[in-house]
């Protein structure tokens, strides 16, 4: 991050700024989604955009996730650069055919002739007391599908730089924002910058254990790293930033150095992101590992509403600290 970055923005403001700048730069960029215009989405992330760009570029849709995602695919093929807004990541279930059978495959099936430069922005994350149908983190599904790119920013800085890259990418990109991070503040340069896909970011250097974390779990990992430091364990925190393309090299190199790793993600642990990343590390750093790669994800249950139950389902700084301590042999 450039030294000059003094200005602080929230994660939501960073997203908003990235969109505004790209819409100014490129008249083909438009936004489609439910209550994106005057309401600026229920999370208020898009506030002000319709005032600047008008209702022909910031477009309220009916509750037709499949329909308007499909419109996004067709619009992207024919010259627009649509940014589709899916309010809660749980509603992605309704877009799977458009994203997976259409968006992801059009370029390949046409022998490289048609392109689908669209972005689908959506949310993930539990702990808002929103229950099982408004709390899921379904990024693993998209990461499984060739033809899609999957982005998971963890800071305001990354959010702005990665979203700009997503909008300028020639492929369909799924962009996941953790609802719980919208108010998180951090330095964001006012100038134009982009962050390339496939480049992991070392959020904190360390020597004893590698914590690979995605999205808001990066904050959790940084919290755990502080706790670990207090007992003499030096944790390296790495954020892959994009699930696909995946920066395997940086992950493996880190674990080759530290010899221990925990992969932490807010999606369901089973058959999720942590499985792929831990496999990559277990294979790539096989001869350096002193302990099995540990995975931490959401518990294998639908997210419950009741606060004490919900809190038990997702990793926290404390549970990660305990797991890391144990993995390092400090019981």
């Amino acid at each position: 991050m450039p030294e000059t970055a003094q200005r602080e923005l929230t994660f939501a403001q960073a997203v908003n700024e990235a969109l505004a700048e790209e819409m100014r730069r490129d008249a083909r960029v438009c936004i489609l989604g439910e209550d994106v215009a005057e309401a600026g989405t229920p999370f208020k992330v898009l506030s002000g955009l319709v005032q600047e760009f008008g209702v022909s570029r910031v477009i309220d849709t009916p509750i037709s996730e499949a329909g308007f995602t499909g419109v996004g695919v067709g619009a992207a093929m024919t010259g627009m650069r649509p940014v589709i807004d899916i309010m809660f990541g749980d509603f992605l279930t309704l877009t799977m055919d458009q994203m997976v059978n259409q968006a992801a495959k059009v370029h390949y099936m046409s022998g490289g002739k048609w392109k689908v430069p669209m972005v689908l922005r959506t949310t993930l994350g539990a702990s808002r007391r929103s229950a099982a149908q408004h709390s899921q983190s379904l990024h693993a599904w998209f990461s499984h599908v060739p033809g899609l790119k999957v982005v998971m920013p963890s800071t305001p800085y990354d959010a702005k730089g990665l979203l700009k890259s997503a909008i300028r990418d020639e492929n369909p990109v799924v962009f996941f924002e953790d609802k719980m991070m919208y108010k998180l503040k951090g330095p964001v340069p006012a100038e134009d910058y982009t962050i390339p896909f496939g480049v992991a970011d070392i959020k904190r250097e360390g020597d004893d254990i590698t914590l690979v974390a995605t999205s808001s779990m990066v904050q959790v990992a940084l919290e755990a790293a502080v706790l670990l430091e207090s007992i003499g364990i030096s944790a390296e925190v790495i954020d892959p930033r994009t699930m696909w393309p995946l920066d395997e090299k940086t992950l493996i190199a880190s674990v080759q150095k530290t010899s221990r790793a925990i992969v932490i993600d807010e999606g369901y642990e089973r058959y999720g992101i942590t499985a792929e990343i831990s496999s990559v590390i277990a294979e790539g750093a096989f001869f350096d590992l002193e302990a099995p790669v540990k995975r931490m994800g959401a518990m294998h249950v639908p997210i419950p509403f009741s606060p004490p139950l919900e809190d038990a389902t997702v990793p926290t700084g404390q549970t990660l600290f305990a797991a890391a301590k144990k993995l390092c042999g400090k019981n």
Binding site: A39, P42, S64, A131, L309
Partner: protein, 332 residues
């Protein structure tokens, strides 16, 4: 628009009792929701809730025409449907607070209240998410041959979802006993329905072979009359119906939606409250035909008010589920 036939002349004591029952049930919903708002304001409720205030006549007019073993499916704005179908407020409040005593042991919350004992297949936080479930219940009902029906409640926003038309088509083909009830309260979140729905809503049933009608959703008697007819049709094996109820939500999309003037005027809200209030409309009708006096209705309101206070206190005092319950009920 269908208007209820004026049945004053033949109004028996029985009918009066029925209408007073509806008045009581609508009052329950109104007071329940006021308590929910209170719980939210006092920061006692986790998350959000979507209030049904203003729309009481729809749920009550329809559910009063149902048997206990009939099915309903509901929405994110589901408290009214649950109560109208017979749920008890104490366990509903407990669910809203995430308590073990709640209908779903606290696992569901406001948007997922379900209750097999009253045929409630569940509220649903996916817009149009219960359209398939309701139609499937009607499929079972047809196979079981006991004359049960299923009612699928949804907001007009759900008409944006294609699955609604998929299942209407199925229901029409297979003559399933299901009534699709569209509660058109004019807004889907913060957007007027005219900006998101093209054409005439009513024709959207007919286009899939489903007989359709609309009704004044603020007049519980009118709703009840048309629902009774549609339910009878369904029980008789004559298939599905589509009913558009024109109504209005008095408060925000959810309890946190306080500043609404960017999408609708205070004046519009006030007009509905003054001129089209379902409780007032029923009360006026009862008065005008001398079927009840102000005292009788006051007594109902007082009684319901006390019931709600007790129910809320029960829920506040109730314990949370033990944390080790979190992994139970994933699989049957």
């Amino acid at each position: 628009m269908t208007t209820a036939t004026d049945q004053t002349k033949s109004t028996s004591v029985l009918a009066t009792e029925k209408y007073l029952g509806m008045y009581r049930r609508m009052t329950m919903i109104r007071f329940f929701e006021e308590q929910v708002n209170e719980l939210y304001t006092r920061a006692l409720m986790p998350g959000l809730a979507h209030l049904y205030i203003g729309e009481e006549a729809v749920a009550v007019g329809i559910c009063e025409a149902l048997r206990n073993d009939d099915y309903i499916t509901s929405t994110h704005r589901g408290h009214g449907h649950c109560l109208a179908k017979g749920a008890s407020p104490d366990r509903m409040f407990a669910e809203l607070l995430g308590k073990e005593a709640g209908y779903c042991k606290g696992k569901g919350g406001s948007m997922h209240i379900a209750d097999p004992d009253t045929g409630n297949l569940g509220a649903n936080a996916i817009v149009a998410g219960s359209a398939g479930i309701a139609t499937g219940a009607a499929f079972s009902a047809k196979h079981a041959g006991k004359g049960q029906v299923a009612v699928c409640f949804f907001g007009e926003g759900a008409l944006g979802q294609g699955v609604v038309y998929e299942v209407m088509n199925l229901a029409a083909l297979w003559k399933l006993p299901v009534i699709y009830v569209c509660e058109n309260n004019l807004y889907t979140e913060y957007t007027h329905f005219s900006e998101t729905l093209a054409g005439d809503l009513l024709t959207r049933g007919a286009a899939f072979g489903v007989p359709s009608e609309s009704v004044d959703g603020q007049d519980v008697r009118a709703v009840h009359t048309v629902a009774t007819k549609m339910i009878a049709r369904a029980r008789a094996g004559q298939g599905p119906s589509f009913l558009v109820c024109n109504t209005y939500r008095y408060t925000g999309h959810h309890v946190g939606d306080i500043n609404r003037e960017y999408y609708r005027s205070k004046q519009e809200e006030q007009q509905w409250k003054t001129d089209r209030d379902p409780l007032k409309i029923l009360a006026d009708w009862l008065f005008s035909y001398g079927l009840a006096d102000a005292q009788a209705l006051d007594a109902i309101r007082k009684e319901v008010g006390e019931q709600m206070a007790t129910a809320v206190n029960f829920a506040i005092a109730a314990p949370y589920p033990a944390v080790d319950k979190v992994a139970q009920d994933v699989y049957a």
